[in-house]
């Protein structure tokens, strides 16, 4: 499908071709995918908690 957003085909030849087999699909309802998503969200939760300040370390001095 010709892009509406980009210049014509001479510039499109440098794009990578992302391919999937016609029959393939992704099912976010499946249990394996749900389990993976759960792990992802657990990891992200930990990252978000890392943004919280540790108040016990605020009196660390920069003296050197």
């Amino acid at each position: 499908m010709q892009s509406k957003d980009h210049k014509p085909s001479s510039d499109q030849s440098s794009q990578i071709k992302i391919e999937v087999s016609p029959a393939s699909t992704v099912d976010f309802y499946s249990d394996p995918v749900k389990r993976k998503l759960y792990e992802v969200k657990k990891q992200v939760k930990s990252v978000l908690e890392g943004a919280n300040i540790d108040p016990h370390k605020l009196n660390f001095n920069f003296t050197v």
Binding site: K4, I18, E19, V64
Partner: protein
Amino acid sequence: MPFNPGNLALALSNELTSTVKVSEKKHYNYLMDYLGNDGDSLGAKTIVIEYDYISKSYLNDYSNFYSSCFSKYERFCKRVHFFSNSFSQKQFTNAIKQNSLRKSIVWNSYLGYVVVKPLPLLTVGATLLKTYEPTVTHKRYFPSSKEYKVNLFGKELKVNSLGFQEQDSVVGACASSALWSAFQKTSQLFQTPLPSPSDITKSAKNSFQSSGRIYPNGGLDHYQIGNAIEAVGLVSELRNSKKFKDTGIGFIKSFIYAYNKMGLPVLMGIEFPEGGHLITIAGYKEEEPVSFTRTADTVLKASGIERFYAHDDQVGPFSRLSFDTNGDVITSWLIDDPAGPQPKKAKFVSLFIPLYNKIRLTFENIYLKTRLIDFYFSERFETLPVYWDIYLSLSNHYKENIFKSSSFAPQKRYQLLTEPLPKYIWIAKAMVGKECIVEFMFDATQIAASESCIRITIFNDSLRSILLVDLTNQSVIDHFTNELSSKFFTLLSEAAGK
């Protein structure tokens, strides 16, 4: 005079600090290397000394402290200029005497200056030196640098740099110097004040953690650094928790890059056996060539950053800094070793980002959204080596890049450039090799609980075709709608051409 070890030591000396003492300083060795003629060094050939120079920053500190000492301290400094061309005193004198429009071997080779304060030992005052030049193989970026105008005997010269100075251990320790450097850039980004080190120390207030007085200053703690940042009208993003450290080196590098790319100086706290030390990160060097493979985790482009460049007041401007595999910081401090001087390591302690209060969304907020978007990519295209470039940007800079780009059809270009945007935006680009396949834009002034995605641009045609089909798959619809939002799904559908 010609640039050489003896003359540099002479230039950096004063009545209270001999050339011998100068040559023992870390700064002397660092400046010899930085300004020297090896590798990427600036290649200085000539030194010009300007006597009886009034340094605004030092004058303020002098007024706050030194002027009331019984011992006499001078208020005039000297300013030591460096040039990459060789010329004689006569040629320099003629360059001033003649107002020639011809290219001058003097003025066109200016590298910057170091102010020498009239103090014992801790003499390196306000310093502006050119950054390392980028090369084809060395992708160096110094987003926190800015253009300074230097007036030398009436001649206006320009230097792209970030102000640096050594602490004087009286009106300020490392933290005050690091904050002074950081505020040099924030004054340009956010029109905030530019206090001197003594004013910074004063504004930090005394939390009596280490001393019962402000001057002489023994250092600042996190509370005081936060106070100093607040005193110039900014807020801080502080990261000091174990959980943040446990996110890993790749995440920490990506965090630093995400803010520094916009120009924000990042204050990094590190710990040596001698004590805590604060430095100001001003730039970074990317590894070339860029090569990432698909993993279960979201791969961040900045995790491949080879090193950062930091103003370390105990070493010099733009000193090299990197992380080892244990997450320790490899600094430019040197320790003696039979095999030769080795870089000294420090423990990572914390990061401060001084920010305008309107920038509300954090890197972690955007990382969360990116992770959920990337989950679709990891499930749909198992082996496609997608990695993510996440950074904060001024929307004006973003539009300037589109204006210079030839990637867009005229009508799309017009739409992107004329659409109103918030002043601060987060960008998350999905990359494969050097190609951006899709870009997500978030309103950085939005609150975390709201949907902050404001634009999605799909660059890759084959991805667009696949998405057009996938966005009719109810499980995919539900993933984007439930994990991100219905607004996000609408934007994605529109971008795909639905």
